[in-house]
């Protein structure tokens, strides 16, 4: 059991109020007609599933019902930050570049 801060409601709420949206920022391949089966399979099914920091989506399903981005450590459930989808993408890309 852990507590998540919804960046839209700006409140700390218990995990049970939220639903898990899985790995964030999985980009749909551009030009779908010319993709290989491997690219499609990777897009649909392959997961990072890291032991450590994970960028993921959560929905505030019993609150504001909005989705947002969480950076959570899968080894100890520590949360480094929460963002709206747009702000989270920026933070994620900054981290990937660094």
């Amino acid at each position: 059991m852990f507590v998540i801060r919804c960046p839209h409601c700006c409140e700390d709420r218990e995990e049970e109020e939220f639903s898990y949206g899985g790995e964030a920022f999985i980009a749909r391949p551009t030009e779908p007609e010319s993709q290989t089966d491997e690219t499609w399979g990777d897009y649909l099914f392959m997961k990072k599933n890291p032991k450590g920091w994970h960028w993921e989506m959560w929905g505030h399903s019993t609150g504001c019902r909005k989705f947002f981005v969480v950076k959570r450590n899968t080894a100890n459930h520590a949360i480094d930050g929460v963002w709206s989808l747009a702000e989270g993408k920026k933070a994620y890309e900054t981290e990937v570049k660094a």
């Binding site: 089966d37 899968t74 080894a75």
Partner: protein
């Protein structure tokens, strides 16, 4: 192999105050090279090593384990064994395993306490009952024993169960597999370890794989916390940590690791002589030989490697069990624990070669790997020894996620994902 556990041995050792027993397996330090290294000394990994040595004549095998023998999901499951899966590929694989279970105690000369007490899968809606009819018929066509029962027949067989209409999800019937049952989970790891050790397999505990040595897409060896091990073949059976191992080899996996919880009660007089599972209300229960109720919950929906889950998940399962068995409402729970299960998009395992030559993966068993322990090891040993899949695991290759030939077993996989 040396069948030295017997009634006669017990008797003669008894005369000697049981002072002459030898350790069941040798815990050894790693040698510098092996023909095959198995990563993970759980049931599946040890079974793989055993069948490699016994059926394929492979000498010089090591099983490396980052913790202790059988300390992962082998020690954390609810020990249910059954084979009533819907699709041919899955049903035949699990049935292969069930047949091995039926002779396992004799085969490895270790009492795995396999008890074929039957498994009921309850139905609570009309759609559940249609699915049960369909699955029972599919099972029968595959030569697997299965019956569809009415609520009255369920009540006759399990007197304590609440089949009244005054519940949130009344029981409408069940599928029943008479040959299914439970086994002693620790004994499976210990028995396979002992049998493999008899064949000269080295079991190396506290030995964590930290990196894979891969050159030209071929495995050369493993970097471990106890030194470098040279080998041409590696079988990875790391359950919840399979993604971590795959990343070390530069392979992507369609796996997500989730906590799955279970709990046991104080010991009671015998009151439940079978296994009851319900996907709809989300719980399953059996009674161990010690008298404890062994209860399994669902997975937490987020990914995690913590080996613990959220309390609201077990609260939900406890509520479900009490609705099925109101008598259990005053029973106190003794212990609760979590394991990390490696779930796949189609609730079926991956038993496969990889793009790295000499590196094989056996993973993705999700919430239901225990039942497959001997069968999984058996076909995986074949895959490693022949560098080609056994006929029963051809369909479970990693490339099914690129070809699209998924085997959708969400309905029969036991725990609703």
């Amino acid at each position: 192999m040396n069948k030295d556990y017997s009634f006669w041995k017990l008797f003669t050792q008894g005369l000697n105050k049981h002072q002459g027993w030898q350790p069941a397996w040798k815990s050894v330090a790693p040698k510098s090279s092996y023909d095959v290294v198995i990563i993970g000394a759980g049931g599946h990994g040890l079974a793989t090593a055993y069948y490699l040595a016994k059926e394929h004549g492979v000498k010089n095998i090591a099983v490396v384990e980052k913790g202790y023998l059988g300390g992962g999901n082998t020690a954390r499951n609810t020990t249910i064994v059954r084979s009533n899966y819907l699709w041919d590929e899955a049903a035949l694989l699990y049935e292969h395993s069930l047949k091995l279970w039926e002779g396992l105690t004799e085969d490895i000369n270790f009492n795995v306490m396999f008890s074929q007490r039957g498994v009921f899968n309850l139905g609570h809606t009309l759609q559940d009952m249609r699915d049960i009819e369909r699955r029972v018929n599919a099972n029968n066509l595959n030569g697997i024993d299965a019956l569809a029962l009415t609520a009255e027949e369920v009540k006759q067989r399990i007197p304590l169960i609440n089949t009244s209409k005054n519940t949130r999800f009344p029981i409408m019937g069940a599928s029943f597999q008479p040959r299914a049952g439970v086994a002693r989970h620790d004994a499976v790891a210990w028995g396979f370890a002992r049998a493999a050790s008899h064949y000269g397999v080295d079991i190396i505990e506290n030995c964590e794989v930290t990196a894979m040595d891969i050159e030209n897409d071929t495995i050369k060896g493993l970097q471990t916390s106890r030194g470098y091990i040279k080998t041409a073949k590696v079988g990875c059976v790391a359950a919840g940590h399979s993604s971590v191992m795959a990343r070390a080899a530069g392979i992507r996996m369609p796996i997500e690791s989730h906590p799955l919880q279970a709990f046991v009660s104080e010991s009671l007089k015998p009151c439940l002589d079978t296994v009851v599972m319900s996907n709809a209300v989300h719980g399953y229960v059996s009674q161990s030989d010690k008298g404890e109720l062994v209860i399994g919950a669902g997975i937490d929906h987020y990914t995690s490697y913590t080996q613990r889950g959220s309390p609201h998940i077990i609260e939900h399962t406890a509520a479900a069990i009490i609705e099925l068995f109101p008598m259990f409402s005053r029973v106190r729970m003794n212990r609760q624990w979590g394991g990390i299960v490696d779930t796949t998009p189609d609730a079926c395992p991956i038993i496969s070669k990889t793009k790295v030559k000499g590196l094989y993966f056996n993973c993705g068993w999700g919430t239901g790997g225990f039942k497959a322990t001997p069968g999984s090891g058996n076909v995986f040993a074949h895959t490693i020894a022949h560098d080609a899949p056994h006929p029963l695991n051809v369909a479970f290759s990693l490339d099914r996620f690129h070809t699209g030939h998924l085997i959708d077993e969400h309905g029969a996989a036991g725990v609703a994902h």
